[in-house]
Structure formats: C-alpha cells, structure tokens
C-alpha cells in the first residue's frame, strides 16, 4: 500500500508539477512583499484562533439544534414537523450574509430601545458583535444539518426500531441507543463536507466587525495597500483548515464500526 502510494507520487509528470509548484512558491516567497508579516503575525494568530473558535462552537450548537429539527421532520407530529421544515427552508433559501446582517443590524438596533435590556447584566455582551455572528452561524448550520439529519433518521431500518419497541424499550432509550447512533454514523461523511462549507462561511462575519482571520487580512490590505500577499496567505490558511477538518472527520469515521451500505 505504502509503496504503491509512493510510486503514485513519483510519476514523471507529478515530479514536474511538484517542481513547478516549488518554483512558484519560491518566487512568491522571494519576489513578493512579506515585510508586513512580523508586525501582523500576533494579530493573525489571534484571528485564526477566533475563526476556529467560531467554527467549533457554531458546529456544536448547530448540531444540538439539528438533531431535534431532523427528528421532528422525520417522525414528529405535524405541529412540530411543519415549523421545522419551514425553518430549514427559510435558512437554506436565503443568503447567509443577509441573515447575519438581519440579526446584527436588525436585533442590534431593536435591543437598545428597551431600557430593561440595556440595564440587564447581559448588555455588555449583547453590545458586541460576536454573539450575533455566533447565533447566525449556528442557525445556518442547524438549518442545513436539520435537513441532513431528517434523511439520516429516515435511513435507519424500521425493523430495528420496531424490534426495540417490541422489547419494551422506553422511547428516549430507543433514540439514544439505536436511532441516533445509527443515524449519526450514516451521516458522518456528509457532515465532514458540510463542516468545510461552514468554515468557508466564517469570513462573512468580518462584515459585522468580528475580527477573525479574514478581517485581519483586510486590515493589512487597508493599512499597507498590499493586495495579493495577504489574500494568498489567507487562502493558504483556509486550505490548511479544510485539510484539518477532512482529516479529523476521517479519524472519527475510522474509529466506529463500518456502516454497511446497500448495493
């Protein structure tokens, strides 16, 4: 396996492309302007950290919301299924940028009108931008993943749920031991891709003054009038993050038992 992989990489055209890539990287490193890097490095590290933190929290809370959303659509009574479906349709049918601006500018201009909100202990938090960014990203992830989870819950064979019910298993136990674990396994590969999409959505929060890595790069551009270098570095950072997410999900997938797929 290893040998075959090595040979794959040592084909003549791959070596040629690799060398070409190396030349391009060297040219970028020596010919472009990177003198701004030391000054902005701490800010960029902070920005990367904030991006990761937004991504992890929004994926976690979004998933917590997506499970009941999917369950309501797959098996709930109509008065739960309909609102869940409407929520998913609205979130998936409108641009995330619009949702972010609606929450930040809309709610942000509504809250200060109420004295009791301004006097509450939460006000110092509500005055900042990141709660709105986190809320918008969470709702967006929940909307897309609610739809994915609906399919996942439906894909678990009925016979298993019927067997569990016949054994007299209580409903919450059926969910936690049989339904949810299998639905989750079936959906893991999809979730990996969706999390990469979520990562690609994080720079949008820079438009509401959250200083994550994209905002830092924009500031470098505005301060120094250097256009391409910060953007190229930014692309590299996101490539690495995407690679890390894909790797992480492969690890999680490899740990559990393999799902048998029909066909």
């Amino acid at each position: 396996m290893r040998g075959a992989e090595m040979r794959d990489w040592l084909q003549p055209h791959r070596i040629f492309l690799g060398l070409l890539g190396l030349v391009i990287v060297l040219w970028c490193a020596t010919q472009m302007r990177w003198d701004w890097l030391p000054k902005y490095a701490p800010l960029m590290a902070e920005g990367i950290w904030r991006t990761i933190w937004l991504l992890v929290l929004s994926v976690f809370f979004g998933m917590l919301l997506a499970i009941p959303l999917g369950l309501a659509q797959a098996a709930g009574p109509w008065y739960l299924a309909t609102p869940a479906r409407v929520f998913c349709t609205v979130i998936r049918g409108t641009p995330l940028l619009l949702q972010i601006w609606l929450l930040y500018y809309g709610l942000g201009s509504l809250f200060p009108q109420y004295p009791w909100i301004r006097e509450s202990d939460l006000w110092p938090i509500l005055r900042q931008a990141w709660p709105y960014a986190l809320l918008a990203l969470t709702l967006s992830y929940a909307g897309y993943e609610g739809e994915v989870m609906r399919g996942a819950f439906k894909s678990v064979p009925r016979g298993q749920l019927e067997a569990a019910r016949a054994m007299g298993m209580p409903r919450h136990k059926i969910l936690s031991r049989i339904w949810l674990p299998q639905a989750f396994r079936a959906v893991l590969p999809t979730l990996g891709g969706e999390t990469v999409l979520q990562m690609k959505a994080t720079p949008l929060v820079a438009t509401i003054t959250v200083v994550e890595i994209y905002a830092v790069a924009s500031r470098v551009r505005q301060d120094t009038f250097i256009i391409y270098e910060p953007l190229l570095l930014l692309a590299l950072v996101y490539l690495c993050l995407a690679g890390a997410i894909v790797f992480l999900f492969r690890q999680i997938e490899a740990r559990g038992p393999q799902v048998r797929r029909p066909g």
Binding site: Q11, G93, L98
Partner: protein, 238 residues
Amino acid sequence: MGPLDLLALSPPGWGATLLAGLWNSLLIAVGAFSMGLVLGGLGAWGKIHGGPITRDLLAMYTTVVRAVPELILILILYFGVTDLVNQILVAFGHERIQISGVLAGIAVLGVVQGAYATEVLRGALLAVPPGQVEAAKAMGMPPLLMAQRVIFPAMLGLAMPGLANLWLIATKDTALLAVVGFGELTFATRQAASSTKAFFTFFLAAGVIYLIITLLSGWAFARIEAWARRGEPRNAGG
C-alpha cells in the same frame, strides 16, 4: 413612513432600488451558472478522458476552489483579473479600462461554479451505462451525434439534482458581491436599510425575495428532472 411606503416603487420608497438589485443578482446568477456549466463540462471531460497532467491540474482546481471561501476567491479574482486585463491592455498600447461589476461578478462566480459543476457532471457522466455508449459506437455513430442522442439524455436526469443545488448556490453567492460593493440585491437592501434605519423591513423583504426565487427554482428543476427522467423505469428504492 410605514413598511409599505418604504417598499413603494416611486422614489420616497426603495422598491425600485431593490428590484434593480434583484435584476443584477439574477443576471449574475444566470451568467455564472452558464459559465459554470461550460467549465464543468470541459472539466468533467478532462477528468475522465484527459491525460495525467490535465487530470492533476483539474484535481488541483476543484480541490482549491472548494476549500477556499468564495469571498476570498472573489477578492483574489476580482483584483487579479482586473489587474491582468489592464496589464495586457497597457502592453498592447490601449487605455486602462474599468471592468463592469456584472462581468467581473459573472467571471468570478463562474470559476467557482465550474469547480462544483465539474464534480456533478463527472459523476453523471460516469453513471451513464457503458453498454449504451459501446452500442452507439458499434453502430458507427459519430461522436457528436452520440453525445447528443445517447450521453446527454442519459446524463440529464442524473445530473439534475446536483445542478439544481448549484443554481441555488449561484443565486445565494451573488450576495457575496455586496462585500466588494457591487449593487446587487443584498447591497441595495443594506443601502436602503441604513438610510432609513428600517432594518427589519428591508432585510425581511429581501429574504422573502430570495426565498421566492429558491422555491420557484426548486419547482422548476423538479419539473425538468421529471421530464429528463421520463421513460426511465420507476424501480428505484426508498
């Protein structure tokens, strides 16, 4: 002024501004989607039938474009393409030009769409039963006629769900152009909202417009798929 006055078409209302933005958004979405289809068709062909170098380059194209946020690609291409065109023009002794926002938007989103379309069309092309292609070859059908009569019809039904998704992504991605200050629907909405301070009214109105586009296109694509799959046996499970 009430919400309806604000959305009125005549000048104190902002309805006309929003509709102009909507027109720009649709123009860019249609242009980018078409360009994506052309790039995707070429990409899928290259990935399946191309030589090793073509395949590696295409793999790099689809990987990079699908891993880097659209916003950053838009900025890189927006600045990069404008710069490149101007350098070429200057080199040939012409004046610098300002590239129109619509064209730049179509070009940028088209490149992004092309990467996704490559994967969608490649999957559909691979799913065409090889026996049918072989049969057409054995009958001595010329390649173009074979593409038109055998491969396209078989691909269309398979590619439709993926293409419908891509179209929806195209309409929503046009909103990203608001960040570079191009006057499409989201940008027009923000302008209207910040001048009147009626944030909820305008953002909700724009949301409803986007939602109507989504629902209408979902319906249309379902019709097209049903048409493309006419005559297929309905023995699929689930």
